[in-house]
Amino acid sequence: MDTGRHKIIKRISGNKKGEILIESIVSFIIFIIVLIGVTAFVLSSVNMNKEADISNRDLENEIKAAENDTAPVTGTGTMTIVFDGNTFYENINIKKQTAITYFSPKNDEKTTHQLGEETMASIAQKFAKARAGSLPQTDGAFTGERIDGVDSSDPNAGDGFAFAVYTALTTEQKSFADLISWSIVNTENGYYIFFVADRHYTSLEGATGVKVYKYDMKSTKYQYTGAGSVDAGRVSSSGSGWSSWNTTVSEWQ
C-alpha cells in the first residue's frame, strides 16, 4: 500500500538524481578544462625544455667552431679604434652562426675609401693638436691662415706645421697623403681641409678649374667644386659651385 510518505521520498530521490547528474556533468566539464589547461602547460614546458636542450647543444657546437675559427664568413665589417687623436679602421670578417657571432681580422689591404677617410680624419686630429699647441715637433699653437701639404714630407720645407702633421701620420696614411694634394685653409666658416683626391701636385705645378674637395673636420663630410685651383701645390677654391655635403669621395670608390 502506497502511502504519502513514500511518494515524497521518491520525489526527493528523483530530484536528487537529476541534480547529481548535472553536478557530475559540471564536474566533468571543469575537469576536462583543467586537464586541457594542465596538458597545455606540460606540453609547453616540454617544448621549452627541448628548446633549451637544442639551444645548449647548438651553443656548444658553435662555441667550438668559434674557438677554432672554423665558422664560415657571412660578411665583412669594420672595427674603428680612435687612439691618441688617430682613427684606425680595421677590416674584419664577420662569422655569424645561429647563436654566436664573432669576427676576426681581415687580412687584406684597406680600400682606397677607408684609407682616404682615415687620412683625412688623422690630418684633422693632428691639426686640432696643432691649434692647441700640443702637436709634437712644433713650437706653440698654430694661429696661421693655412697649412699646405705640398712637400710636407720634407723637414726643411714649409713652416714646420705641415711636416709635423705629416710625420704624425701612420706609414699607410703618409703613402696616401703622398698621392693627393691637401691644404688646411681658414675660411669665413672656419678651417677646412681642401684637397685634390686623385693627383699630387708638386711645388712646381699648378692648375685652375680642377675638382677640389672640402673636408669638414667636425661633420667629417665632403663637398666638391669644379672651380678649384692649385698654385705651386697649394690647394685653393674659388668658393663657389659647391656640391651638397656628402659622406663619400667618388674618386676613392
Binding site: I20, I30, V38, M48, N86, P105
Partner: protein, 191 residues
Amino acid sequence: MIKKAIKNRKGISIPIVMAVAVILLVIGAVIMSVASGNLGTSNQEKNTKQAYFVAKSSIDVIDRSIRNGDMGEHIKNMVLTDLINSGNTAVNKNWGPFTLQVSFSGKGLGNFSAEDMQITFKSSSQATSGSGSNLQSATVTINEMKVSFKSLYNDRESYRVTVTYSYTGYANIQNGSRTWGTETWTLVDIK
C-alpha cells in the same frame, strides 16, 4: 536513512574536482616554471658566451693592429718622437692612461660594443747615433703595455679583459724618414 544518504552526497563532486584541479594546476605551474627557468638559463649562458666572443674577437683585431698594423706603429713612433723632442740621448717614461673609443660596423654586430678601453705603457728609448733633431738611430723598448677594455653584448652581458705586450725595436732616421728594423712585439699575458 535514504534521506541522509542523499543529503550527504549533495554537491560533493564539484569541490573534489576543484581540489584536483588546483593540485593539477599547481603541478603544471611548477613544471612550467622549471622549464622556463631552464630556457632562461640557456639564453643567459648564450648571451654571456656572446660577450666573451666580442672580447676575444676584439683582442684578435687589436693584436693585429698592434703587432702588424697602425696602432703598434703609432705607439713606437710616439716613443721615438718623444726621444727626439727631449733632445736627450735616453728617455724613460710612463705613458697613459690613454682612453680609446671603439665601435663596430657590419651586419650582425649591432649589439656589440667595447667600453672603457685604455692603454698604458712604460718606454725606454736610447739614441745610438745623434740626438734631438739630429737623431739618426735609436733603440726603443716598451714594457708592460696594458690594453684593457670591457666588451658588452646587448649593453648587459659584459666581459672585462686586459692584454699585456712588450716591444723592442731599432729605428734609423734619414731626412726625417724613419725605418724600423729588428723589432719584436710580444704578447705577454691575457687576463
